[in-house]
């Protein structure tokens, strides 16, 4: 066919995309890593240096470690809730043979692409002062009010409503891959529904559960709009804090250090959990 060596053609085909990733991801990250070792000062903003002080400042200041803990805590709670609420829906969808099944799947997919601001706006209407719940409470019991907006509860609810469709879709495709006859065998051998779930379905779905959990965990760790709009000014998570260090305080070296701490924490935890599940799965 072609007299050119294969490697050259392939190189020409894949070259542009590789250059974009190198130029817009790898090079900026290298520069950001260098910035994170610089020193901040109020008059000159950034002074060239080679110091770990930005990382140490984060690790030794209870305020910043507190924000990291809050972020981790919110991410773990929402991931757990996603698993608990997502599994039954995914199971029903996967095992359904009704003609509404594809409509159901489409209804789960649509919210995936609808921006986080839409969800936040809806919850503000439900939870806010003068919102649906507040007005209902006032109507039933004059003088009372339910202030749920600007609480961790509102943030968990907001992130949950954004992440749940991801979990449902991941689990649905995994459950579709589990042979229904395995469950029927367990049933005909006399296993109760709960035993069937714990001893047959759950172990087979475990790798899928891990994939879904990792996905929604990453999303929750990096949430920006939801904590900002539903958490209020006093509630802090990593992504909004990073943006504020950059935009309000103009402290780029520290923002760079926060960026790497966020990235490394997320990657470490996800890698550890996949390794853990893989080992369990092989042993089982």
């Amino acid at each position: 066919m072609s007299r050119r060596p294969q490697g050259l053609t392939a190189g020409l085909l894949i070259g542009p995309a590789t250059l974009v990733v190198l130029g817009a991801l790898v090079a900026p990250l290298v520069l950001l890593a260098r910035y994170s070792l610089n020193r901040y000062d109020r008059t000159n903003f950034m002074v060239e240096a080679l110091t770990p002080e930005n990382y140490l400042r984060f690790l030794y200041d209870p305020f910043y470690t507190g924000v990291l803990w809050t972020t981790l805590w919110i991410a773990l709670v929402t991931t757990t809730l996603c698993l608990v609420l997502g599994f039954p829906i995914a199971y029903r969808l996967a095992r359904s043979q009704s003609r509404w099944k594809s409509a159901g799947v489409l209804l789960v997919i649509l919210p995936l692409f609808i921006g986080s601001t839409v969800r936040a706006l809806g919850w503000m209407g439900v939870l806010g002062r003068g919102g649906l719940l507040d007005s209902a409470a006032a109507a039933m019991n004059p003088g009372s009010s339910v202030a749920l907006l600007y609480t961790p509860f509102a943030v968990v609810l907001g992130i949950l409503s954004i992440n749940l469709p991801y979990m449902v879709l991941t689990l649905q495709s995994v459950i579709e891959g589990i042979d229904a006859r395995v469950e029927e065998a367990a049933e005909s051998l006399g296993a109760e529904p709960s035993r069937r779930f714990l001893l047959v379905v759950l172990p087979l779905a475990l790798p899928g559960l891990a994939t879904g959990a990792v996905l929604v965990f990453i999303l929750a760790m990096n949430a920006y709009a939801t904590p900002l709009l539903l958490g209020g000014a006093r509630f802090q998570m990593m992504a909004p804090m990073l943006f504020r260090e950059y935009a309000v305080n103009n402290n780029w070296p520290f923002a760079a250090a926060i960026a790497f701490i966020l990235m490394v924490t997320t990657l470490t935890l996800t890698a550890a959990s996949s390794a853990f599940v893989q080992r369990r799965y092989k042993a089982a």
């Binding site: 991801l25 039954p88 997919i109 601001t117 839409v118 806010g128 649906l132 990096n222 709009a225 760079a256």
Partner: protein
């Protein structure tokens, strides 16, 4: 446990015996239905609520509203900040979509149809933007662009060039992912037959391979568009006061107030995306590619 399934042949829906009966009215069964209802409510309530608020007549959100009207939808045009930012969003998303198809399709051809040194590494590299937090990508591109601005004295922050390049970074992995999946599923013998019959490599590409990839390319284009159109976290760092994308102007508006106008704006945005997705669903099974 995994061993149980192994000796069995995969079930096709037709031969699968009568499915397990839905759980009877036991405590566990009720509990499962409570969980399902809670999950569906969590997903549906915010969307329904936003649609509901967008129909309120009063400018202040109070329950119950004094009346309903669709007037806010008509008045969106009177608020230039939303119109302008919608224009920016559409422009950047279109540029990023075209660009990512132009570089992503050739890259996926190389990844699937050629074997070369470092293919595995390049595959991971091209998908890696999906695993890095959006705020981290945004901040890192921002500091690089500022360095370039200082060196060249060209105003770059907030320019279409930088925004489109940054969006190119987050849309290309999706194009590569979808096109690679599509290419793997295609029968290679058709291309070989065309080549045996004397077609030159370029006409094999134009007349055989690309037409066969049509589904994957349509899916990749719509995905790339939506990913770019919805992005907040990365774009935040790259906008300038005059240039803003729609999700960010909605976000900034919501930080100060909530009213039926902004609800109407996001409903329009939502309907556009839902329309695109329904269109996409005609070409490819959405549940396969997400």
């Amino acid at each position: 446990m995994a061993g149980i399934a192994a000796p069995m042949a995969p079930a096709t829906p037709a031969q699968a015996p009568a499915r397990i009966k839905a759980s009877r009215l036991t405590a566990a069964g009720v509990f499962v239905w409570v969980l399902i209802t809670a999950g569906v409510l969590v997903m549906a309530v915010p969307l329904v609520m936003t649609a509901y608020i967008s129909l309120f007549r009063d400018a202040v959100v109070v329950f119950p509203p004094s009346g309903y009207s669709t007037a806010w939808y008509m008045r969106i045009g009177e608020f230039p900040r939303f119109g302008e930012s919608l224009g920016t969003s559409l422009r950047i998303a279109a540029l990023a979509t075209i660009g990512s198809l132009a570089i992503g399709i050739p890259a996926s051809l190389a990844l699937v149809r050629y074997s070369f040194l470092g293919r595995g590494v390049l595959n991971v590299l091209l998908l890696s933007p999906l695993t890095v937090p959006g705020v981290v990508i945004g901040l890192s591109i921002y500091v690089l662009v500022v360095e370039v601005e200082i060196a060249t004295e060209a105003p770059l922050i907030g320019s279409d060039l930088v925004l489109a390049a940054a969006h190119l970074l987050i849309t290309t992995p999706w194009v590569v992912r979808l096109c690679v999946a599509n290419l793997i599923g295609l029968d290679r013998s058709v291309e070989e037959a065309a080549a045996n019959l004397g077609a030159r490599p370029w006409s094999v590409l134009w007349r055989v391979t690309l037409p066969m990839m049509r589904q994957g390319i349509v899916a990749a284009a719509l995905f790339a568009f939506i990913v770019s159109f919805e992005n907040i976290e990365m774009t935040l760092f790259l906008i300038s006061p005059g240039v803003m994308t729609l999700p960010i102007s909605v976000l900034q508006y919501l930080e100060y107030r909530i009213d039926p106008l902004v609800a109407a704006v996001v409903m329009v945005q939502t309907l556009v995306i839902a329309g695109l997705l329904l269109l996409l669903d005609r070409y490819v099974k959405l549940s396969r590619i997400v």
